[in-house]
Structure formats: C-alpha cells, structure tokens
C-alpha cells in the first residue's frame, strides 16, 4: 500500500503537527523522491545527459501578468523535443517557467507545485506572493550542488498579488538569488534577443491580447537569432504556450487564439522580416 505502512500504522511523521512544507516532509519520510538526489553522488559533469529548455518571457499589463514560452528542447545540436511545455500552473494565482536542464527543472516545478498546494491545504490559506517567491528561491538554492555539475535550472515566477491587485514577476539566479523584475523579463538562451524585442514594443497600457502579441513577437525574434529556441511551427501546428494570470485566476490561453495571433506575427514578418519597428520622433 505505501512504503512504511506496516501493521496498520502510518509512520509517525504523517500525523505529527510537524511541518507544513512538503519538501521538508518528503525529506523526512521519502528522501529518494526528491529531485536530483541520485545525481549528487555521480561526480563530474553530467550535463550532456538531459536536454536544455530555452526562451521564456513574462510581462505585466494592467490587472495581470503573462508568461509565455517556446516549445523547443535541445541536446547539443540536436532538437530533443519540439512540443515541450515549460510553463507550470503552480496554483490559482501563480505560474512558473523553467530554463536550463530540463530533467531537473520539470521535477523542481512539479515539487514546487505540490509545495504550494500542500501548504494551502494544511494551513487553510495560501502563501503570500512574497512567500511563494522566497520558497522558490530556497528550492533553487537547494539545487546548487547540481548546478555546479552543470545542471543549472533557472525558474521565472509570475503571480497576481491579491493585496496590491497587480501582476508581478520574479527572476532567480543559480544560487537562489531572488530579484523582482519591473514590467517584463526574459530567461533562457534566447532571452537577450527576446528582452530587446519586448523593450521596443512594451507600453504600460497594453491590454491582454496586445501583450500576448508582444510576447509572440519577442519569442519570434528569439527564435530568429537563437538556434535553441523554436519559433511558431505553422505546418505542425505547434505554437508557443501562453499563460495569463489576472484577478480571475490562472488561464492557459487557448491554442486557437495563440494560433491566430502567431499566424499574424508570421505573416507580418513576410512583409517585414525584422518585425515591427519602434517610432522615432
């Protein structure tokens, strides 16, 4: 039935008042389930073992925040996966995307997801957005040993802050440093190009649909310059994924809508391969 469930008794830890952190609980009862436990002992660099995941963009708009990611995972010069989902709904008001070692990142995101829900169920209320951001920082820091071996995982957290009623974006570095970003941010191998692109298109008064358009333009630019980022694939019907979080909660933008906007972007590039230009007065 369950490891340790013998003689009709759960291990004592299950019923103690104990911790409301799922990670700490797992470390106590079932440590082998924690991500990357076995890799610590591996020694040497093993980064060629798992594919890399790539460009993620996040931008805020009045009343919400948006997170978008391309679909490509690469392993050296090989495209390991064309339709990967790098965005994770972590709870009703937050989402996380990952860049870096995919195998570790996926586990980290999954664990983080359970962590937030676990806290909410045990305590009867969700963590504050700051609390969620700090928790993620601790988890990234916990991965430092593996980052040193080449398995660097960088998450990007977006969330809707219910107290201030606005969207917020948090970025991280490999040692768990947490930085709040203003307005927009991008991570991953194509982030330099994506961020440059958003910089020229971003305005403070963008509505939700236009924000999605800006995100798609920036991902197109990233894919244009960075071989490890995939652009919209009209033939296969593979489009970037977009999550929007507003007062109403988390919503994955339907494929049809992204497809429509992405097709507009691609068609626009037929006339202007470098995309929309900023106005110079």
């Amino acid at each position: 039935m369950f490891e340790g469930f013998e003689g009709g008794r759960m291990p004592a830890a299950f019923m103690s008042a104990g911790t409301s952190s799922f990670t700490e609980f797992l470390r106590a009862v079932n440590p082998e389930l924690l991500p990357g436990r076995h890799l610590d002992a591996a020694g040497g660099s093993a980064e060629h073992l798992t594919p890399d995941a790539t460009t993620i963009v996040a931008l805020t708009f009045p009343g919400g925040v948006l997170l978008a990611g391309d679909r490509r995972a690469t392993q050296g010069n090989v495209i390991a996966n064309r339709d990967m989902d790098k965005l994770y709904r972590t709870d009703e008001y937050s989402a996380v995307a990952i860049a870096g070692a995919a195998g570790i990142g996926i586990e980290l995101a999954r664990l983080y997801q359970v962590e937030l829900e676990h806290y909410e169920k045990l305590e009867g209320r969700s963590l504050s957005l700051e609390g969620k951001a700090n928790k993620l920082a601790q988890m990234v820091r916990g991965n430092l040993g593996m980052a040193m071996q080449g398995f660097v995982v960088i998450p990007l957290l977006v969330g809707f802050d219910e107290t201030t009623e606005q969207g917020r974006v948090f970025s991280y570095d490999a040692v768990g440093g947490r930085y709040e970003e203003q307005r927009y941010h991008s991570i991953g191998s194509g982030s330099v190009f994506a961020k440059g692109s958003i910089k020229k298109l971003y305005r403070d008064d963008l509505d939700e649909t236009t924000s999605i358009k800006v995100a798609l333009e920036s991902l197109y630019d990233a894919a244009d310059e960075d071989s490890a980022t995939g652009g919209p694939d009209l033939h296969r019907g593979i489009y970037p994924l977009v999550d929007v979080i507003t007062e109403d909660g988390h919503r994955r933008v339907p494929t049809e809508e992204v497809a429509r906007l992405a097709t507009e972007v691609v068609e626009g590039r037929a006339a202007h391969p470098d995309g929309p230009t900023a106005l110079l007065d």
């Binding site: 299950f14 019923m15 389930l33 999954r110 359970v114 169920k121």
Partner: protein, 250 residues
C-alpha cells in the same frame, strides 16, 4: 491483585466510550447533488474546519474530537500529496484514503487504551454521478461504501432517516443544501433554525478544473439557503429548480 476483563467486555467498553464522545458533538452530512457532492457540517467555528480538501477530487468531513480528526486530516493530505507526486495526480483515489483511515482507526481501536472519538467521511467526485464514491469510516475502523448520502455524528441514524425521506438524486445545489440543513436542524428531535453562521458548507464540483473542492460561505451561502427555502415553500409542483447561479469565486 491482577484482574481479568473479557475481551468482549473491553471492546464494548471502548465502543461505548467512543460513541459517547462522538454523541457530544453535532453531526455532518455528505450528499450528492446534480453538480457533484455537497458536504455540510453544523459548525460554529469559521476556522476550525470539520470539512476540508484532501486532494483534487477528494473531500473529508469529520465529527468528534477536533485534535484527533485534525491528525487524520493531516495524514490524509500528506499521504495524498506524496502519492500524487510519486506517481500521478490521477493515481490518488478516495478508496486508498478511506482504507488507510480505516486501518489507522482500526489499529488505534484495538491497541490503544483510549479509542479515537471520531467518525469520518471520505468523498470522491467522479466524472459522472454514477462514479461518485462516498465512504463512511467509524471509530473502530469499519468502513462502509455509501450510496447517495451519508450522515455522521452522535445522532447520525436519526439524521440519515430524515435524509432518506427527503433525498432525491440529481437535485439542485440549493435543494440539496435545504435537505441537508433540514436533516441537521432536527438532529435530536429538536426544532432549530440553522443559519449561514452555524453552517460549514463545501462542494466537490464535478465541472471545476484542477481542484474540485470549494467552500461556500458568506453572502453566497445565505442566498443559497434562502433559495432552498423558497424552493421548499413552492413545493414539488414547481419541479426541479432552474439554474441556481453555479460556481463563482469563493
């Protein structure tokens, strides 16, 4: 001087003790409605819950001693989260949880001097009403798979009797709530008026994405109670209720 107590006597004493403890508190009911499963408890406290969420599709309702069923709730949430993380979210089922509760309570009952004074319900909402599962687990670890509705608590037999008379499968949320509150209000043969402030109400909503558990309180609960009462007054001639302002944020 060593003395001998027959095992039968021992068990009977323990069972009487547990029953008495449970009978001191108010009851709770769990029943199906058209959109899923409704859970209602007679509970004055807004923060010390008798009803809570275990996992995506699974809810928990308990009566008896709070610290004891709170321990069981923690255990269930931890078990479900570990399970779901280890395998997949779909691999956590109400049956598993009901089983570990039954085994835990059974062990405590037979091995400890003092049995736990709790009675719990584990409910899982399925894709269709036919796939809904409702389990009732008593202080001695017996487990019963209930159909449609269940009552737990000291006077659960009486409450279940009222439920049996009034329960209709596929009734609207307000009608189901009305049935539940009516059953709880006449718990000990008394006439009480249960208001939003006395009730803890939650639903497992079939149509909801991700986590199906949702609490209903405040204005929405008051409105639902009113709606249920007026539907009751209008009588069965009006037939089933029309759409009753389904899911919104809590």
């Amino acid at each position: 001087m060593p003395f001998y107590v027959a095992p039968e006597q021992q068990m009977k004493d323990k069972a009487d003790y547990a029953r008495k403890g449970i009978a001191r508190g108010r009851s709770a009911v769990v029943l199906q409605y058209e959109g899923g499963i409704l859970m209602v408890a007679d509970n004055m406290s807004r923060t010390l819950h008798k009803i809570s969420e275990l996992y995506d599709r699974i809810g928990f309702a308990a009566v008896g001693r709070y610290p004891e069923f709170e321990n069981l709730r923690l255990m269930g949430v931890r078990f479900a989260d570990v399970r779901g993380y280890q395998f997949d979210r779909r691999d956590v089922s109400g049956r598993q949880l009901a089983n570990i509760y039954a085994q835990t309570l059974g062990t405590v009952f037979s091995e400890s001097l003092k049995p736990w004074e709790v009675e719990i319900v584990v409910a899982e909402v399925g894709d269709t009403a036919a796939e809904d599962e409702i389990y009732r687990i008593t202080f001695d670890g017996s487990i019963v798979d209930e159909q449609g509705y269940v009552a737990v608590g000291g006077s659960s037999e009486h409450v279940a009797g009222v439920l049996k008379e009034r329960f209709e499968s596929g009734s609207s949320l307000s009608a189901a709530l009305n049935t539940a509150t009516h059953a709880l209000a006449h718990e000990n043969g008394e006439e009480r008026e249960l208001e939003a402030g006395n009730l803890e109400v939650a639903v497992l909503e079939r149509s909801r994405q991700h986590r199906k558990f949702r609490r209903i309180h405040g204005d929405r609960l008051t409105a639902l109670i009113q709606q249920g009462k007026s539907g009751d007054a209008a009588g069965a001639s009006a037939g089933t209720d029309t759409a009753d302002g389904e899911a919104d944020q809590d």
